[in-house]
Symmetry: C2
Subunit: 484 residues, 2 copies
């Protein structure tokens, strides 16, 4: 669509379809949504559409297909990889799902909730809690992240160890496809072998294969007991030994196993005014472990956990430990963990990498990659923290002291990232464990991913979006179909 008159015709039709609340071209109303929340990507858009129903989304996508208008779907605009920001050409329509924020149904009996794409994660948590249930996925952006975005990016968080990523929570899915047809897979069937798992294909496809409009999600009974411990260890290998030990003893009760190196804890303690270290001494590594029991009392859980930790201490797996005396103290432990990114950012420029390797190889990866990076890039410091139990850490490389923020990231920082991703691939890992590819990692994915997998993705993308209108430039770049 190139001419002004064609654009006007499209916008007129879209305005007729969506009404005044459903479409805007006002720069002031659009502005906040054209830059990602971390301020890394800024784009332009023809207009911002805010449909109120699946039918409206479907009609709008049909209209876009007819006019060849690219579509950038957006939820809470809290993604980490620029996946919801349009490019700079201004030819795309920004499609906000935020108005579709109804919880269509919630059944504690069947443990199911049907939420529209625009439902904010925190609202879902609240609704579940009101019904005596819980939704077992949470993350830092829960106040803005929407269900649609969480599904489209297969979001993770701190409870993946036990409950899996978003992929594991979705029982049914509704999505609008590139031709405006509606994939209606909302009714949850525990067993269904009618061919390809199209639901799983759509989850994590970052809006490039379809636009998620609603999801049926699983709910669990609210946990009754939670026991949280902060552990001081001499090394990351010991942390893995402790993980295996606690897994064996606590089984399904183990929900979180996060690791924090001394450098990160120091940074947080310097950054947060009232923060205190949970342990008296300083340890090379720390582990934050959480166990949860549904349906049992927390005294029994605590006793079991204490017994397990006592045996681990006896076996020399760690140096010191404290179990949170109450909910308040448990929250304080988690606050330390959740403040690492902000604290490290406050120190100076850094490159952050959301990477995974097979769980059992993670300690060796950290022990090999950190000194390798620091040796190659003089003055840098590599710190790794996060979800040891998932084989997923945030691997941050801090710039040499005195580096200029904004400059270092664009120069030496890029070389650092390329080297980190090379190492990750050498270890059989993933250059995006949680955050997705978006626009940020498209070149690195093309450079480093298995060519066979890339080719499959391009074929599937072309097959389901032959005009290339769904979130173009994100995740996988496919040339238009040869026979189009």
């Amino acid at each position: 669509m190139n001419t002004l008159s064609a654009t006007t015709a499209f916008l007129d039709e879209a305005a007729d379809l969506l009404g005044p609340r459903g479409l805007t071209t006002d720069p002031e109303r659009m502005d906040a949504w054209l830059t990602d929340w971390r301020g890394r990507y800024t784009g332009r858009a023809l207009a911002m559409a805010s449909p109120a129903s699946t039918d409206e989304v479907a009609a709008l996508v049909k209209l876009c297909a007819r006019h060849r208008v690219p579509i950038v779907p957006q939820g809470g605009n809290s993604g980490m990889a620029g996946g919801a920001t349009p490019d700079e050409t201004g030819t795309a329509l920004l499609l906000s799902l935020r108005r579709m924020d109804a919880i269509r149904s919630l059944s504690p009996e069947s443990g199911q909730v049907v939420a529209e794409a625009g439902v904010i994660l925190q609202h879902l948590h609240d609704a579940a809690e009101d019904a005596g249930m819980r939704f077992p996925l949470t993350l830092g952006g829960k106040g803005s992240a929407t269900i649609g975005g969480l599904v489209a990016t297969n979001a993770g968080g701190t409870q993946v160890l036990r409950h899996g990523t978003m992929r594991g929570q979705v029982l049914g899915l509704e999505a609008v496809l590139a031709d405006g047809s509606v994939f209606n897979g909302l009714v949850p069937l525990k067993k269904d072998n009618r061919g390809f798992d199209l639901k799983q294909l759509l989850i994590g496809s970052e809006g490039t294969l379809g636009i998620v409009t609603a999801a049926c999600l699983r709910l669990l009974p609210a946990p009754i007991g939670r026991v949280t411990a902060w552990i001081g260890l001499d090394g990351i290998v010991e942390a893995r030994t402790l993980l295996r030990h606690v897994e064996r003893d606590m089984g399904e009760a183990l929900e979180g196993f996060e690791v924090v190196p001394a450098h990160c804890l120091d940074s947080v303690l310097a950054h947060l005014p009232d923060a205190r270290s949970p342990l008296a001494g300083r340890h090379k590594w720390n582990a934050l472990i959480e166990c949860v029991s549904a349906g049992a009392d927390s005294a029994a859980l605590r006793e079991r956990f204490e017994t397990s930790l006592a045996a681990a201490l006896e076996a020399g797996m760690f140096e010191d430990a404290v179990i949170a005396a109450n909910e308040r103290q448990a929250e304080d432990f988690w606050l330390l963990r959740d403040s690492i990114s902000a604290a490290e950012r406050a120190i100076g420029p850094a490159m952050q990498h959301d990477i995974s390797v097979p769980v059992e190889r993670m300690p060796e990866f950290i022990l090999a990659a950190s000194p390798a990076i620091e040796a190659t890039f003089h003055g840098t410091r590599a710190v790794a923290f996060g979800h040891l139990g998932d084989g997923n850490v945030h691997f941050h490389v801090l710039a040499p002291p005195g580096s200029v923020r904004g400059e270092w990231e664009e120069s030496a920082g890029k070389d650092v990232s390329a080297r980190v991703y090379d190492l990750v691939c050498e270890w059989g890992g993933s250059i995006s464990a949680e955050h997705g590819i978006g626009q940020m990692k498209v070149p690195e994915l093309a450079r480093l991913h298995d060519p066979v997998a890339l080719s499959m993705m391009r074929s599937v993308k072309l097959a389901l979006d032959p005009l290339g209108l769904l979130n173009p430039g994100k995740l996988v770049i496919a040339s238009p179909a040869a026979c189009a």
Copy 2:
């Protein structure tokens, strides 16, 4: 490939590639594999290839692509829907994976095993047991079913309630694609957001998108305690109430919840010479419940289960119950359950339907569908048994007494099945919960499935197998690409 000389050229090249053990055209050696094990489908094949490695499979598929030879992959030939039987034209190559039967690695520490496609399920169970672990999926055909076939059909079984279908067991996958390239996704990453979940796309695709050559599967610690109960109930609604009650009390320990109507138990008791009813009285419905504990002793599990059942009895949820006194008795209970199909078949002709509806609707579905079928088809009897906890029952319709075996199934039986499937779709269910589509249900899938989902499947099939050489005629029929 039409001419005799072209066929000869292909077979010569294939023989060079695979060697004498790897290729045969001997009718006697091929014969057993050209008819499915239930004897419903018989086909012909150009030859039977038995490659010994992934490289050989890849080279063979490349050769087939060059010569346009269709490929029918086959594991243990124990599928339920004719998915591994070639058609009658004799133009396809039967590709047996049975020679690829190595367990490449097994690690109790990481709870992972890498098994080639031809590994028989029972052998995997044995290998896991030898290492103090278990593979949490089992089914009747475990003595012949192979890992490749189980992955390709997303097999289920009796422990899906707790552990999920094959889809939930696969941590990594290796497969040969239509062009002979190898999808290498064997290294298991707990978190990986590098785009579409190609592994899940291949699982359950019945060999139409790629040929599974190996899988990395999860292992669990061997269970220490198991407690099995046989329950007599007044109705199927009561069975659901009991299911919810036991789920609440036993949580993750609940592994099996099967239902058996009186008619099925009667048939089994008449069919098995030494079988005895677990309970003194006759009940309209029976439930077989199994709880398993890993890492705890079975006395505590039994006590918890007994307490839960006592409360359920108090609340009037069932009429009578017996807990197996030992392993032997537990096995006897399961033998009753596992003998239903054979016992019902012995009575006379019947149409069997592997169907699911949402778990919470299953009792109402059975109460509505059974009399509806019996009223429409005079003299028939509808019985439903199986995995209530998964919303998946085997819905059998027995022919009117005196019906001739082989004739009834081909005439009135077909109308019965069409009506059963209509009802299932009206209830939002699936016409194939476990067994897949194969060649058996292709017409019903085309008739009853969501046209949007069907269209997506056809597009994906064409994209990944543009020449239509992978298991043609199965699952989804896609016309050749318009631009081929």
